[in-house]
Symmetry: C2
């Protein structure tokens, strides 16, 4: 069995395939253009590299409700050409394969959980990406969470640092978490790119002040077995240990965690590949469900 995966991002599309155990055998990527042209490239890829099923991790907002008539349709995105584009059904019609779709961050959460090599594979895991925006995917009790819409964790309220005078860059909430701690917030506050800031720059402890609040609140609210931080801003190795410190300070010993915090809050195991691996896992689910239905 060969399972295809698509990471349908706002900037680039990654297509690949692999086996049901998550081993990636081939992958390629190309810039996201207009929907028709981009889908043409996807279809071409999977015509050249035939697979048995496909999973898609898509940028959002996107309808992820499987029983909804608009399942797999891109919703009110700032990328106007993609609004109301029937991503899933366009690909399904062209390729005629079992397919499932979820958000990019949910796919990353699924990839990290499903293919975890830990002996005690987590059955609840939050994947957070800190980059151009802040997003989160949640895999809880062995299922991806959707709810009413899908989680938009980046926009939660956080306590502002008493010495932080930056107004925040979220166009909707100003100083929500994304407004204070995304890549663009770092640029807005320090007038330079996050990757240019040295390890000892105060930016990182301020990042940790905000991201540690999210981590503590997620542990209190959802009690996940793992919280994984990915995304461009997390490439600074000093940041994760600072987030752990802040989380610990916020929890203040309240939660009797069964293992050390640094085994709960970690970097991705499959850095850069979690999303594609999760899409492949989703494709495997699509195949299984089709098999069960027949």
């Amino acid at each position: 069995m060969r399972i295809g995966g698509i990471e349908a991002g706002g900037t680039k599309f990654v297509c690949g395939y692999g086996t049901i155990d998550g081993t990636i055998e081939h992958m390629t990527s190309f810039a996201t253009g207009n929907p028709e042209e981009t889908c043409r490239q996807v279809i071409e890829y999977f015509t050249e590299h035939p697979v048995d099923a496909i999973g898609i991790g898509a940028f959002g907002p996107v309808d992820v409700k499987e029983h909804s008539p608009s399942y797999g349709t891109i919703l009110e995105t700032p990328k106007t050409a993609w609004r109301q584009f029937l991503l899933l059904s366009t690909l399904k019609q062209a390729l005629g394969l079992p397919m499932k779709l979820d958000t990019d961050v949910n796919c990353a959460a699924l990839g990290e959980a499903r293919f975890s090599t830990e002996t005690d594979r987590p059955n609840s895991l939050i994947y957070i990406t800190v980059g151009t925006g802040i997003g989160g995917g949640a895999y809880i009790e062995n299922r991806l969470i959707h709810g009413l819409l899908h989680p938009e964790m980046g926009h939660i309220t956080v306590q502002r640092h008493p010495h932080d005078t930056y107004g925040g860059c979220c166009s909707i909430h100003h100083d929500c978490l994304e407004g204070l701690a995304s890549g663009p917030a770092i640029e807005g506050r320090y007038h330079t790119l996050a990757q240019m800031l040295p390890e000892e720059h105060p930016a990182w402890s301020l990042q940790a002040y905000y991201l540690g609040q999210m981590t503590a609140n997620l542990l209190l609210t959802l009690s996940p077995e793992r919280i994984i931080f990915g995304g461009g801003v997390m490439k600074q190795p000093a940041l994760l240990p600072l987030i752990l410190e802040e989380t610990d300070k916020r929890l203040h010993g309240y939660l009797q965690l069964p293992k050390p915090l640094n085994e709960i809050v970690t970097k991705p195991s499959f850095d850069g590949l979690s999303g594609l691996m999760g899409a492949i896992a989703l494709g495997a689910d699509a195949l299984k469900e089709q098999g069960a239905a027949q």
Copy 2:
């Protein structure tokens, strides 16, 4: 079939029974004493009123992991006599019935979800209680959430109101949500009981300032179809509309909710009975699982 339910609270125990559709046929309550004496009363009740299975909603912290060797054991509670008490196994041994146990707030969430009379029964629902403490139970994608421990949502970080000078009453975090917005916080700040404060008192908009942050963050993080506010402090009818206003202000139009906020964030449908009804639902699950295992 007659299903028993126990709301095992720190102050009082409620025992009752009903049918599988959630109709309560009988209930009684008594003060929580020492564990042995309290269990004796429970056993007496269910000896007089025989049932086919029992569900228990227990005060915490309690081990709710079904596959754990200490499932149903009370953990590090301030009620020292109850620490390490084998609540579930004591009752199971005495009564010899199929039983399941979860937290009190998870049971309330389950009761509200399972017995909802809405045509579109919610499959994700958070139950929040605001009283002596602030607690929350989560029922997501038709399952109660446990994760690493169980949720302790009351202790999340919130943005402090700029004019609120009260230090907070949480012995661990001082000004977490529970420290700023529980019943004791109201008493600490205004030197009177919450129920003594008139509708127009500024306490209620301050309460809403804090609780609305929780509501908005939960909608962003978990995207539940319903958030239900119960507990003593919520008895002030002016409070819920103020929470809705604050939530709306915090979200600032970001979430394209499929229905009005006041149909998502509501009072309990079964005020005062959600917990017992949820315990009965859990008992029904225990019976079903036993049936399936045989």
